[in-house]
């Protein structure tokens, strides 16, 4: 029965990974930027929540109301400045710049907050759970995060397919120069995509802070999980990312069931196996990047 529980917990974690990964996927899909600082952004979101929420007297659960707008604005500004400047060079430069920012952010957080773990204390809410049988326990927090992930992915899909701004984003992603010819300010559209990506990663960072402890050095692990979800699901597919996140989450929980030390390793093994057998992922487009 504990195996069934492991699979169910894995599915729950998968929602969180998908929430994390959709920003990474969006930035790559629209601008071709692989944001190597993606994991650190989530950690920064956690620290912003820890610092700001006591000031606003909001309950910790609602901290995303403060952090998400800050991140959306920050994402727009960063895209219009540093990221656009590196994008104007070439994709190679964006990799180096985002990696540099990741290292700088990690060490700046270490200087400011030490290497001690922090978490967002939501009090007794963390303990509420739904127990269909004696061995299976579904925490409400995990269910809410999975729900949020599905809602965010659905909203993103609707935004891209139905709204005029979403159409502009797709147009710019398909052919930046042709979009410019018909009068689209592609830099502004890139900024909007970055704002959305940063907002989703802020949500993921807050969810992470409620689940578990975070520290300046936990950013890269977040990035690797998000990346593995994207590749397992298939690059370019939003719902594939959700499936990829779930596959990764289940693999990790089953690994942990075998031996707690194998949790992360099991995820890496599944990722490498997908790369070996089906490099374009489960739902990927025909061509790998």
């Amino acid at each position: 029965m504990s195996w069934v529980n492991a699979v169910i917990q894995g599915i729950m974690t998968g929602g969180y990974y998908a929430l994390f990964a959709c920003g990474l996927s969006l930035l790559f899909g629209v601008m071709g930027i692989i944001n190597l600082a993606h994991g650190d952004l989530a950690v920064i979101a956690g620290y912003v929540a820890v610092l700001l929420v006591p000031e606003t007297h909001l309950p910790v659960v609602w901290s995303f109301l403060v952090v998400v707008p800050i991140f959306a604005i920050g994402g727009y500004v960063l895209q219009r400045t540093l990221l656009q400047a590196s994008l104007d060079r070439d994709p190679f430069t964006t990799l180096l710049v985002t990696f540099g920012l990741s290292v700088v952010a990690e060490n700046a957080l270490l200087e400011a907050f030490s290497s001690n773990g922090q978490s967002l204390n939501i009090g007794s809410l963390i303990a509420y759970s739904f127990n269909p049988t004696s061995t299976i326990s579904l925490s409400y927090l995990s269910l809410v995060v999975l729900g949020v992930a599905v809602v965010v992915l659905g909203a993103l899909q609707l935004f891209l397919s139905r709204t005029s701004t979403g159409r502009l984003v797709r147009a710019v992603a398909d052919d930046t120069e042709a979009a410019q010819l018909v009068g689209v300010n592609y830099r502004h559209i890139f900024g909007i995509a970055a704002a959305i990506a940063f907002a989703t990663v802020a949500l993921a960072g807050i969810a992470n802070g409620m689940y578990t402890e975070f520290a300046p050095t936990t950013g890269p692990a977040n990035l690797l999980f998000a990346f593995e979800s994207v590749v397992i699901g298939g690059i370019g597919s939003l719902w594939g990312t959700l499936v990829g996140g779930i596959v990764l989450g289940v693999a990790q929980q089953i690994g942990a069931q075998i031996n707690p030390a194998y949790q992360v390793l099991a995820g890496h093994v599944v990722f490498l196996a997908v790369l070996a057998v089906r490099p374009r992922g489960l739902f990927g487009l025909r061509t790998a990047p």
Binding site: L36, R89, V104, N107, A261, H268, A288
Partner: protein
């Protein structure tokens, strides 16, 4: 793939068109480098023990940066997972020393083991390109670290001490490890130089300028990239092996740390990516900065990272590339310059067209 023959073929054809290597006198430069290496070899007798140890770490980082520069600067592959080979090189020495080998003699063996391991890894990670390749290499490094950490016979997560060096006195230990590091860095830079002057260097230059064109001209792009990946694993493995021998303690969190990638990337970016001189200059800047900020913990990585980001955006050729863009100074001449032949007797008749087999391998 006979590299010397290819280089010779290139230079014969080149002379006819007045295409020359960058530097006026490679013999003079060769003598300069022999003198520099000889001076460095005498350093343990000239400077304090603390300075010798700084120089050793300088050689280790320069070896890694030279390898990363080959990968990213010449073959266009941004790897953030070279710490996989740093760690495996260190553990290679540990395992061999545990089995009774001399740790210093184990350095080349561990490096070759890393190159061997990198071949199957390349089959996986080469399926992804660009940024996805970068993160995939990082995943591989993390996986390698987790596998090693879960193996208690080699120390598990806490690491283990390398045996077999205690018979040396402190003075002899310092000298032997220093010379081993010097030997590794000389071989690494020399290997990079030789590779770039060989036919492989021509293929890489062609790919950098126009990949489709290079492919259609018959260049074996994937093979060239794979060779570079193997050489980079060899070099980073040797650097990791040096870490194990000089620090005498191998810990997974330290040898598999992503900070190795950060340092090799920043050093290369700041010094000048795509030149052999760049990483040398960048490593010097790094150590000057680190020595002056050592008491400030993470600050040197913050400053160095910010500097690397600024240089990547606003001066992508780095310090060396920016400084020499007008002067054409090359301490390691690997490129070609098209110009008028200096002396008429250099202009030999165009050699008969090489057989296709020779020009495509």
């Amino acid at each position: 793939m006979s590299a010397p023959a290819g280089a010779e073929l290139g230079s014969k054809g080149a002379a006819a068109r007045g295409v020359t290597r960058g530097a006026r006198s490679t013999t003079g430069l060769g003598a300069l480098w022999v003198a520099v290496v000889a001076l460095l070899a005498f350093m343990p007798y000239l400077v304090s023990q603390a300075d010798t140890s700084i120089l050793l770490n300088f050689f280790v980082l320069l070896t890694m940066a030279t390898m990363w520069n080959l990968l990213a600067g010449y073959a266009g592959m941004v790897s953030i997972g070279q710490q996989a080979f740093v760690g495996l090189g260190a553990y290679g020495v540990l395992v061999l020393a545990d089995a009774g080998f001399n740790p210093v003699a184990a350095i080349p063996v561990a490096a070759v083991m890393c190159a061997a391991i990198s071949l199957p890894i390349s089959l996986l990670v080469f399926r992804l390109r660009g940024g996805y390749f970068a993160i995939a290499t990082w995943v591989v490094a993390d996986a390698a670290s987790l596998v090693i950490s879960s193996n208690s016979s080699i120390g598990g997560g806490t690491g283990k001490t390398v045996p077999g060096m205690s018979s040396l006195g402190p003075r002899a230990f310092e000298e032997v490890t220093y010379w081993a590091a010097l030997a590794v860095v000389v071989v690494a830079v020399g290997l990079a130089y030789a590779l770039l002057r060989s036919r492989l260097g021509l293929v890489l230059a062609a790919v950098r300028d126009n990949e489709v064109g290079a492919r259609s001209a018959g260049a074996r792009v994937a093979t060239a990239r794979r060779i570079v990946y193997l050489v980079a694993a060899l070099g980073c493995g040797a650097a990791g092996a040096l870490l194990a021998v000089s620090q005498l303690n191998v810990q997974p969190a330290s040898v598999f740390g992503v900070q190795w990638s950060a340092e090799m990337i920043f050093v290369t970016m700041i010094g000048g990516i795509g030149t052999i001189e760049g990483p040398v200059l960048g490593t010097i800047v790094f150590f000057l900065l680190q020595q002056n900020l050592a008491h400030d913990g993470a600050w040197y990585l913050i400053i160095f990272g910010s500097l690397a980001v600024a240089i990547a955006i606003w001066a992508p050729r780095g310090l060396w590339g920016t400084a020499t863009s007008r002067l054409r100074v090359q301490l390691f001449p690997v490129g070609y310059h098209v110009g008028r032949p200096r002396r008429t007797r250099d202009v030999v008749p165009e050699p008969p067209a090489a057989p296709p087999a020779a020009s495509t391998t």
